[in-house]
Amino acid sequence: MKRLLSGVCVFIVGLAFSYSASAQGVPAKAFENVTLHKADGSTVEDAVIVWRNGVIEAAGKNVSIPFDAEVWDGGDSLHVYPGFIDGYAYWGSPDQKQFEDTPKYRGKPSYERAGIRPERQAREAVKMDSDDFKKVMKKGFTTAALGTKGYMIPGQLDLFLLQPELQIGDLYKGGVGMQMQFEESYRVYPSTVMGIMARFEQLMMEAKALNEWQGYYASSSTEIAPPPNDPVLEALYPVMQNEQRIFFKADSKEMIERVFALQDKLDFDWVLVSGMEAYKVADELKQRDVPVLASINFPKKPEWKKEDYEEEGEVTDEMQGFRDKRWNAYLARYRNIKKLMEDGVQVGFASADLELKEMADRMKDWSEYGDVTPEEMLKVMTANTADILVKGSALGGLKKGQVASFSIMNKPFIEEKAAAVYSVSAGELNELND
């Protein structure tokens, strides 16, 4: 209950932006002698950060620490970052249920069997006590839009302020968007990409008809039969009415173009998730005003690119030509986010299918080959992602009035073995040393 109240409180206060913490009777907390890394890329050394009741009161140099504050000394060696935000994560999500049965009428599976679950909320599926949360907090994340694994429409994304063990009170905003992907269910309709496209279009047609029926019934209940109860179709209404966005996971240029085709037919708002080849359609994304929550789930480097690789045999000109082409394709993937930024596309961060154990290596790849500065990386993982998830939210920064969600790291985040030693999420401080 305590978490629930504090979560709701932070949300309301964060949205208002005009919170006056000192008016509350709750003691303040502060870190002093730290280096602040702000979302805009600027840094402040020998700085102080003060927060109270889940909200930042002050951050900067020469900040006076309130008399009632509990203070931690950073010893001039700790680095404070706005908490990283994962725009689309599967942390804590159980693996998709493996269906063992094959229904006799494969062409008419139930919604669940077909993987059509727009009514399912992530908070109902996610394992709140998963150790994933502590692991990602050590990597600097304090906030995540959690989704569930699944097929065509896995469910609704819920935005959580992370804690080592989540509670429902840590929910910042439910139903941030509806998850969707070109993922066929097992041995039932739709079993192809074109089938998914047709099925989704049909679902939207049926939702529209049901909505009309409900409208008629509400206005004239004695003259028309009552409409059927269909929570799945009803869960599509917000998308149909442009009140909710689809968070559509797609990687290849062709798959992204298929989402464009669906959008042209059904006129929905959406966010591209993962988008490994989004750079190829950056102009179109910009023109359509589609933000991208980009993944860094780059393919692993080829053996011949590794430092300890020893060549066996001669590398012919033809072989070298192939290698050059392949490496250029790698570089294009690494530079995806940079290209999107240059082309004016709003870009945030999503771990999506990236395994947690791979994150450090992929971050290193992104830093090394992605043509991005640490400041740009930080902005993508904080303010940009926050703005894509909840426009005008108080997440993703270290400014006064913003939600007190930040990480205190032992070294700059892109350096080897960088890790958060403390994490403050919605004002709650967690010590992360094992």
Binding site: V193, M197, Y216, R258
Partner: protein
């Protein structure tokens, strides 16, 4: 060229611009070749001028306008780009095999523009293909007619303004997938017929109900009983469009009895303009096909790969052609598509079909079957600049395709044929070792085998 003709051609250009065709077009003069027009005989030492993607002049001593490339075709043969009316190359998924009727799915949403098979087909002189849904279902999805503009994206491959087409399938494939695979109808050829009739009846009911609802909705003023909504049903919409003649049917079939069956069904519902594809026993019912105005698209000499394909003959295409049935030769294969000229030539070897008619079987006739013969299929002024140039007569076994143009743009040139023409590089896969794609993946039953294995797909 007289003035009226010039004006007509200008209007054609304008109409193309007006509909927003954004595909690349080229201007080229192909000079001094033996021009096989297909519809107007052969022109020795002839020239073909293509301007902005459209053939504007065919004849002798044509001058190249400014900006047009000039190709010396002396000693070579110039013919229309080959059209394959039954192909599964350039497809992502081929079969939505989970239901006996999936008319709502579209191969236009399942195009793989990076498939190297496109380039290989261009090397065989092919300029257009009919990307068909597979044959797992009695009524499969809508197909897509493509131009092989290798290097363009999905939309860039689509043949603008080509009529809608759809795949039907009779016989062993749908009964095996659904009857044996799931224990549902159809288990037999009788069942196949009933699936079609039942679906057609349902579509007619649907359209009546839907239109009645839309009319009632339009007239409803908030007084009295409101109309009960009838959701738009994509599957039924497509079927109803077939019955109304808006979609051309291409039906996978082999046996004569099932071919007759479908013609009877279509007679009952008033469906016209359809093509039987494969149709190995079509020769048995050639007069009936002719009487119905039905078309046939066949293999030259491919059979015996399953039980229903044993009763076959290499004379099939020739017999059909002699009976006046518009007949084409197709590949249904990522390999055969590379030498459809040889496949057409077999009709001469086996059935004494004329060279002119043999050429039509891979050019004009498939264009007729796809409803695009006003645009391609022959070398005529006003048609698209889809052309292939051959070292010898294309029906010679020794002939080799030299160049292939689509809309006047050269997409294949044997002299510029690099070792590696792949355009899609997935860095996560080994690029150095070329993968050999199994050509059976391009077949009608692609994506269906998971249905027969308890472990497949897991």
């Amino acid at each position: 060229m007289d003035t009226i003709k010039k004006i007509a051609l200008v209007l054609i250009f304008c109409s193309f611009t007006a509909v927003g065709v954004s595909q690349p077009t080229g201007s080229v003069l192909i000079k001094d070749g033996t021009v096989l027009t297909v519809t107007n005989g052969t022109i020795e030492n002839g020239d073909v001028l293509i301007e902005d993607g459209i053939i504007t002049q065919i004849g002798e001593d044509v001058s190249a306008p400014g900006g047009a490339d000039v190709i010396d075709a002396s000693g070579k043969y110039v013919m229309p780009g080959i059209i394959d009316p039954h192909s599964h190359i350039a497809g992502v998924d081929i079969n939505e095999a989970s239901n006996p009727v999936t008319a709502e799915v579209k191969m236009g949403n399942s195009i793989d523009p990076n498939d190297i098979s496109i380039y290989r087909a261009l090397a065989g002189g092919v300029s257009s293909i009919h990307l068909l849904h597979g044959s797992a279902n009695v009524i499969g999805g809508e197909s897509e007619t493509l131009k092989l503009r290798y290097g363009q994206g999905q939309e860039g491959l689509k043949f603008e303004d080509a009529p809608r087409t759809i795949k039907f399938a009779l016989g062993e494939n749908p009964t095996r997938v659904h009857g044996q695979g799931s224990g549902i109808q159809p288990r037999t050829r009788m069942g196949v017929e009933q699936v079609i009739r039942r679906t057609f009846d349902a579509a007619l009911d649907y359209r009546r109900n839907r239109e009645a609802y839309l009319e009632a909705k339009e007239n409803y003023n908030g007084q009295g009983a409101p109309p009960r909504p009838v959701a738009k049903n994509l599957r039924m919409e497509t079927i109803a469009d077939i019955i109304e003649g808006d979609i051309l049917v291409h039906c996978h079939s082999y046996r004569a009895d099932e071919i007759l069956m479908l013609m009877r069904v279509f007679d009952d519902y008033g469906v016209e303009n359809y093509t039987f594809t494969h149709a190995n026993e079509a020769f048995k019912v050639a007069p009936e096909l002719k009487e119905h105005g039905a078309y046939a698209s066949v293999f030259s000499d491919w059979w015996a790969y399953k039980f229903e394909v044993y009763y076959s003959t290499a004379y099939n295409a020739s017999i059909l052609n002699a009976n006046g049935v518009v007949t084409s030769i197709n590949s249904d294969s990522g390999e055969l598509i590379r030498h459809l000229n040889h496949e057409a030539a077999k009709t001469i070897r086996y059935g004494n079909t004329s060279k002119a008619d043999a050429l039509k079987m891979i050019t004009l006739n498939p264009a007729i079957q796809l409803g695009i013969n006003d645009k391609v299929g022959s070398l005529e002024e006003g048609k698209h600049g889809d052309v292939s140039i051959w070292s010898k007569h294309p029906l010679s076994i020794y002939s080799i395709n030299q160049m292939t143009f689509v809309d006047g743009v050269k997409y294949f040139d044997r002299e510029e044929d690099a070792d590696d023409m792949r355009i899609d590089i997935n860095p996560g896969e080994s690029w150095e070792q070329p993968t050999v794609r199994n050509t059976s993946e391009h077949g009608c039953m692609h994506d269906t085998f998971y249905l027969f294995s308890e472990t497949a797909g897991e």
